[in-house]
């Protein structure tokens, strides 16, 4: 894997080579070539940022798993002081992991946008090259255009094959009931589960905020279209001119985003329920004194 800084250096090197080629080989002079280079650098930077964030998130995940392992070991050893220390460490590790996952999600969104922009610019470039080829009669120029076209198409295919970053949910904690668990261990496990449930709740609140914003936007679109529809239904408004706002995003795009976030919310709610049920079960077992002897 190329490191983030290495990737950036490679991009700059390629950009330099491309500029020199552009100057000496006299290729078709399109204004969007500069923009393509800029978008390519922005995309590579976004990939580098995403990979760095992913690496950090994986590191935090390992730290959390290690803290969990130490917690279970302390629990099995029956060392109360070590257990309390491990409990604090698990909470700290989880906290850092949540932060790292949020950073990763932000970088993923930046990468998605950079990729969209780059692909769109490359599609435009292909179209312009084709238009240029239709007008060109010089066979040397035609060959040059053909090479540029091939390279550009290969680049589009390559970018399309790159894996899409996905929204990640923190995994469910793997704390299970064990026959050696006493009331103290059970209550501490319940505490860890509560802590994780709170983290999920924070993630849920974050999605809720995004969902609220999207729903406000959807409400505005809907009420604006209701107003327009009711106004024109009976022909009270003269049908004048062309339709305006043709580039406004279709409301179905908003609907799609809302549906995706709602699915995440459902999943988080389900996980919170599972964790809370499990924590309640641990407490019930701890409070019942069944395993105290």
């Amino acid at each position: 894997m190329i490191s983030p800084s290495g990737r950036l250096r490679t991009s700059l090197l390629l950009t330099g080579c491309f500029s020199i080629l552009t100057a000496f080989c006299a290729p078709p002079a399109f204004a969007q070539e500069d923009r393509l280079v800029q978008l390519g650098i922005a995309h590579d930077q976004a990939v580098a940022n995403y990979e760095a964030a992913e690496l950090a998130a994986r590191g935090r995940e390992v730290d959390y798993e290690e803290a969990s392992r130490i917690f279970v070991e302390a629990q099995n050893a029956g060392d109360e002081e070590a257990l309390n220390q491990a409990f604090v460490e698990v909470q700290r590790a989880l906290n850092l992991r949540v932060q790292a996952d949020r950073e990763l999600e932000q970088r993923a969104e930046e990468l998605r946008e950079a990729r969209r922009n780059l692909l769109e610019a490359k599609r435009i470039y292909t179209r312009d090259l084709l238009a240029r080829a239709e007008l060109e009669t010089d066979p040397v120029e035609l060959r040059a255009i053909s090479v540029y076209l091939d390279n550009n198409n290969q680049e589009i295919a390559r970018i399309r094959l790159l894996p899409e970053p996905e929204i990640t949910l923190e995994p469910l904690p793997g704390l299970e009931f064990e026959t050696t668990d006493g009331p103290v261990e059970l209550r501490q496990k319940a505490g860890v589960l509560d802590f994780q449930a709170n983290r999920y709740q924070e993630q849920l609140d974050y999605f809720q905020q995004q969902l609220d914003d999207l729903r406000s936007e959807q409400d505005l679109f809907r009420r604006s279209s209701d107003f327009r529809a009711d106004r024109s239904r009976f022909g009270d408004r003269p049908p004048v001119g062309a339709q305006a706002g043709q580039n406004a995003p279709r409301p179905e795009q908003l609907d799609q985003q809302i549906r995706e976030l709602e699915a995440f919310q459902e999943e988080l709610t389900r996980r919170i329920e599972i964790i809370k049920t499990r924590a309640a079960d641990f407490r019930r077992r701890a409070g019942g004194g069944v395993f105290a002897q």
Binding site: R127, R233, F234, G241, A242, G245
Partner: protein, 374 residues
């Protein structure tokens, strides 16, 4: 007549079919939106503008209490990465109890409906192609005289082909061809409504800049034939109009929605009477307010100048030309889950160049909108 007989039962049974259908159908078919609207209005009319298509009455003032019901929806029939097919429908019933006329009171009833199919498919690296087809029907019983203007009943069938190109240097281009056939229903007392029957063919090209806010400039041409209108020229007996339009629309999509458009029309005809130049300013604004209120505002302001003055002023708003100015203001907020309440005020004014004739309407409405599937 045949078209009306075919369409009306369809529009009448459409709401029942829609209500009886669950939120999601089989396969790819998905309900995208369904809105019921019900409301009542108080309206006042005044003016001395005459209409050749309405029964005569010397009254210059009238008023009406109005109840209305509407149903609108959108269903996606097919949707994948390359294509989509949507069905849209909109239907409504409006009942007036109108008074203030000299000869008698009127109780006009409007029954309207429209169905559209919209198909989009990607056209390789070029962009996307859209095909649109629609039919509409409108029936009016007990149509009143001016100054209560109710657009006459008619049926239309229309189609459109639109090409939307991918942006070139951040400018999106689009082009469309369209056509329309309109058939106005006549009655024993208003056979002259057939004068408004028309066939329209047209085209338009547009270019759009921007992302958060956009400006779309467009230019179009429209050819209209009125098969029942004469020109008194034996060598060219039927009216044919050519309309050129040029305009621009600025749109902003932020935490509020705004649109401002300016459009000029030049209408030339082989009949001297309807030759005119017009300029229309259109504005639509939707703004969220505190307490979950949303304020909607729209204004279409038109100034129009005919090339030839005629003694008989026969054009009325909506019948054949965009010669009216219309303003609406609405405040809307949710009342209960899926139910909105709205208060709307409307004003319309149309003026004729000759004889200081005008038509004016004021309305205040209370509307409720219900979305069963949110």
């Amino acid at each position: 007549m045949i078209l009306r007989r075919l369409l009306l039962p369809f529009f009448l049974t459409l709401p029942a079919g829609v209500v009886a259908t669950p939120g999601h159908l089989h396969g790819q078919v998905t309900w995208q939106d369904l809105v019921f609207t019900g409301g009542m209005s108080a309206e006042w009319y005044d003016g001395n503008l005459t209409a050749v298509t309405a029964p005569p009455d010397p009254a210059t003032e009238a008023s009406a209490a109005v109840g209305e019901f509407g149903l609108r929806g959108r269903v996606t029939l097919v949707q994948d990465e390359k294509r989509s097919l949507d069905l849209r429908f909109d239907s409504g019933l409006r009942q007036f109890a109108a008074g203030g006329f000299v000869f008698r009171d009127y109780a006009p009833r409007e029954l309207v409906g429209r169905v559209d199919l919209e198909y989009w498919e990607t056209a390789g690296s070029w962009g996307e192609v859209g095909l649109f087809g629609g039919v509409s029907g409108r029936n009016v019983d007990d149509r009143p005289p001016m100054p209560l203007y109710v657009q006459p009943g008619h049926h239309t069938i229309d189609g459109r082909v639109q090409l939307r190109l991918r942006p070139i240097n951040e400018v999106s281009y689009d082009a469309q061809l369209f056509g329309e056939l309109a058939d106005y229903g006549t009655t024993a007392v208003t056979p002259q409504l057939a004068l408004l029957d028309r066939m329209v063919l047209g085209s338009e090209v547009g270019a759009t800049w921007g992302s958060d806010w956009t400006i779309r400039g467009h230019a179009g041409f429209r050819y209209s034939e009125y098969k029942n209108q004469g020109t008194f020229d034996p060598e060219d007996p039927l009216r044919r109009d050519k309309t050129f339009n040029l305009g621009a629309t600025w749109s902003l999509q932020s935490n509020f929605l705004a649109e401002v458009g300016l459009e000029g029309f030049v209408n030339r005809s082989n009949s001297r009477r309807p030759e005119y130049n017009a300029l229309t300013l259109r504005t639509v604004l939707s703004v969220p307010l505190p307490e979950e209120f949303i304020l909607n505002f729209s204004a279409d302001l038109t100034t129009k100048s005919y090339l030839t003055e005629t003694k008989d002023v026969l054009l009325v708003p909506g019948e054949e030309a965009d010669n009216a100015s219309v303003v609406y203001l609405e405040a809307i907020r949710p009342l209960f889950l899926n139910l909105d309440g709205a208060v709307r005020f409307g004003w319309t004014r149309a003026e004729a160049e000759a004889g200081n004739e005008y038509y004016e309407r004021f309305g205040a409405s209370l509307l409720f909108r219900y979305r069963p599937f949110n």
